[in-house]
């Protein structure tokens, strides 16, 4: 399934810097979550939430659960490809799925799923997902 089948999806790229690595000589496990957040922010923009307007609109998708599997390590200066997509949603929650692969050999390094809700700031009350999702991505409704 991809964006042609109306699954919101996003591809971003990263280059591994020294600040992404640790003394083990590989990318630190926390750094991948920054790569994923960058991808997710562009995916969120596609879904209607622009980070630049969040503070005014006072609506913000927030991660409530992360599951991440570290399969193979990335190394300094590697080019990485992050792919994210909307996986499924219900009334108030949605799941995004991500992979990170190394560009040179397409080796899958990371798989990750995140569950999100949308909150109203500043009290952070969970609100309902936009109703047009049912029309637009009805096949992803659980």
């Amino acid at each position: 399934m991809d964006s042609q089948n109306n699954v919101p999806a996003m591809e971003t790229t990263e280059r591994v810097m020294f600040f992404d690595t640790d003394a083990g000589g590989v990318v630190h496990n926390i750094a991948y979550l920054r790569f994923i957040e960058t991808n997710r922010s562009f995916l969120a923009e596609k879904l209607g939430w622009k980070l630049g307007e969040m503070m005014e609109v006072q609506q913000c998708p927030v991660v409530v659960r992360t599951e991440i599997d570290y399969r193979r390590p990335a190394r300094l200066w590697d080019r990485l490809v992050v792919r994210g997509q909307l996986e499924k949603f219900d009334r108030c929650r949605f799941w995004c799925a991500f992979t990170i692969t190394r560009e040179t050999d397409d080796e899958k390094l990371i798989t990750c799923r995140q569950m999100l809700v949308v909150v109203k700031l500043p009290d952070m009350k969970v609100i309902r997902l936009p109703q047009h999702w049912e029309t637009d991505f009805g096949h992803l409704k659980t």
Copy 2:
């Protein structure tokens, strides 16, 4: 179950700094994983791996999976208590469980589980867990 029942456990504390927070006014979801790594590093020391000797010994526990639930947000200058413990293990893998609570009201903010293996550096080959674990923490063997 706790350390009196021979479950390796560790308690660490954190004070929330500006660099832990984001423009949403709360602790950024990635920052909690630093708090958990700090706890896990002291727990690892208890289990026999000293971070200071890892580069010489060339043996290192690495996280292969993280599951983290964000239940309530922490805020700037909060005092947090991180509690970690060995949850279970098999031949080559072990699981640690963590909670992060706010010190003032003992509210549970975060629950997290991480699966780890021990690798031999620099090729990162997975090695067997120390055999004395079966004697020492046999009730945690799966």
Copy 3:
């Protein structure tokens, strides 16, 4: 000059974690600035700004310049001692000086100076420093 001579000063300690290091096998240059911020936040509390009240009080010291010298590298699991103090101030600006030493041999690894101003949130207008500073730390006025 130290706190007995009415120079606000603060000492904090750090233990170097994997997330503080990089593939060069030493602490990444950016990580030291987190150690310094932690020290500075406790120093700021002593000077009258509590991080936990900043969002309500809407007053916040912000760094406008950092100078940092990297003299020797720290390594994984090192215990570090961060010492910070108010160095001098004028009408609207103040300077803090920091050192980071390794606990085992008191080797000086880092020296740092930061210039700060206090801003009124959310428009971030610079405000005058508290007048009692002239009474309390008059010898540091420039």
Copy 4:
């Protein structure tokens, strides 16, 4: 002076993410140093050090001093332009100068200078700069 006058220079861009910001609602002062490191890594590649080969070549430029001025804050989702260039060098040290501007209005937010040396790993002994620099960028020699 620019790259047409044989001054090695590099331009990179950044998009401000949540993890770059803090509870003050602006980009955290430490985050800019990641933006600068990314720029510097590409500039270093131009100067002959490829991050991907550093661990084999065992030669690595390291920052020994940073001076950074925070002039105006960047905000969530801003597009930033980082410009870096070789400023001057002597036998063993070189200086790079950086600016960060906001793309929309070209407002200068950050100016920064870093002094670097090249070290031989793993003992981190400072080595002489490549002799061809005198031929190639002789007008930058101090």
